[in-house]
Symmetry: C2
Subunit: 245 residues, 2 copies
């Protein structure tokens, strides 16, 4: 793990850029953090990146309201990572298949499953590295990710026993059912009731498939990009409840 | 409106029994309440009554956390009301129809629609009476009701322009769709994902039918009677957001 740059702390939150195994990431911690604390790993949405505005706003809330550490890395083909020709080729091919009349949602699911084969081990490596820092330590881990962050997050949470609570959503599909069934930690699952990108039935099917005994679906009126602000308040409380001692 | 009895205030909450137009009710207010404040009317569940334990616990939270007034009355054939032979007869008849193979849910919906023809005007009269009290006044009104309290609450909220926010749920069905479409205030709608009494599709259809631009569905793992405690916290925040100045 190599630290690259640090943004001077405004508002008591320290923001450090790093790479680990060639993957660019960002770590947010309380300014004068000493000793171990819960850690939230966040997965960003498609076309976004590790410190897109909504990601940074959310991270700062988890840090300032709960005293947690928050980490996020660029997904392949996003942010500061180089173009990946293989992923580009598949995306172009999918685009053509949609134009020829195929359903978009299963194609996206297949693509995300492919990317997850790369991101699951990458993110596990990020956990290993970040949890070696004394101001993070080996406390409880949460995962937050919607849309692409859900498609990559379900396989990650299913594979990663260190994750003890997860916020997922804006994604769906029976393709993820098997991995979802292996998730047993508490989940808060976000659905936009008028989502123009994720068919409602696919969202509900994924929530239904989760193996967790404690799971809550929050569906709000609105389109894919219109997640209401009170869901961030709710996520703060959810992680505080499950990750704080 | 005639006051009958008052429970000595423990915990800063005053509890007064009353009748209005022959309907027995209970009013909770802050102990030394002076002047107008938001009012929440609560509808109880089937087989319960106006001050069943869960009702009283919920009312006390709305009073002590938000400073609101809370009112609840017995539904016909419940609590301190006399038996109603006509309702008894229909209930017995429905029981026989279920045993003969008919679906329970539409029968319940039809029954609740019949009872609502009586409770909507009763509850409107309760609002009139309670809002004349100086410690309640003519501030914003919220409605809370699940299960039977949803079946009776949807027609009430649809008919009552003084209601500005509602928590509904544990109920459903296309029978309520027309009245649900006339509801335009913010709604928090509760679903138990493993509800053994309300088929999931009926719950989702009712949420879908609500005309509100701001509506949130909270579905939690568990059976009809297993509403998790954090949904009361959520309802407190929901009403505080929409009814407090």
């Amino acid at each position: 793990m190599r630290f690259l740059d640090e943004t001077p702390s405004s508002d008591g939150v320290r923001e450090q850029l790093f790479t680990v195994g060639g993957v660019p990431g960002v770590l947010w911690t309380p300014k004068d953090a000493v000793g171990p604390r819960p850690l939230v790993l966040m997965g960003h949405g498609g076309g976004q990146h590790k410190k897109a505005l909504a990601m940074a706003v959310r991270a700062r809330r988890f840090v300032s309201d709960c005293g947690f550490a928050v980490v996020s890395v660029d997904v392949p083909n996003h942010g500061d990572r180089p173009r990946d020709e293989e992923y580009d080729r598949i995306a172009t091919e999918n685009q053509a298949r949609v134009e020829a009349g195929e359903d978009l949602a299963p194609l996206i699911a297949g693509f995300q499953a492919l990317v997850a084969r790369q991101t699951v081990p990458e993110w596990r490596g990020v956990l290993d590295a970040v949890r070696r820092l004394p101001e993070v330590g080996t406390g409880p881990v949460g995962y937050w990710g919607v849309s692409l962050g859900c498609g990559l997050g379900v396989p990650f949470v299913a594979a990663e026993p260190r994750v003890q609570a997860a916020v997922l959503g804006l994604g769906g599909g029976s393709e993820l059912a098997e991995e979802a069934a292996r998730i047993t930690v508490p989940v808060e699952f976000l659905v936009q009731w008028d989502d123009e990108r994720v068919p409602r039935a696919r969202s509900l099917a994924l929530f239904d498939a989760l193996g967790s005994t404690e799971k809550s679906l929050h569906a709000n009126a609105g389109r894919h990009g219109e997640l209401p602000s009170w869901e961030l308040d709710s996520a703060v409380r959810f992680f505080a409840r499950h990750l704080s001692a």
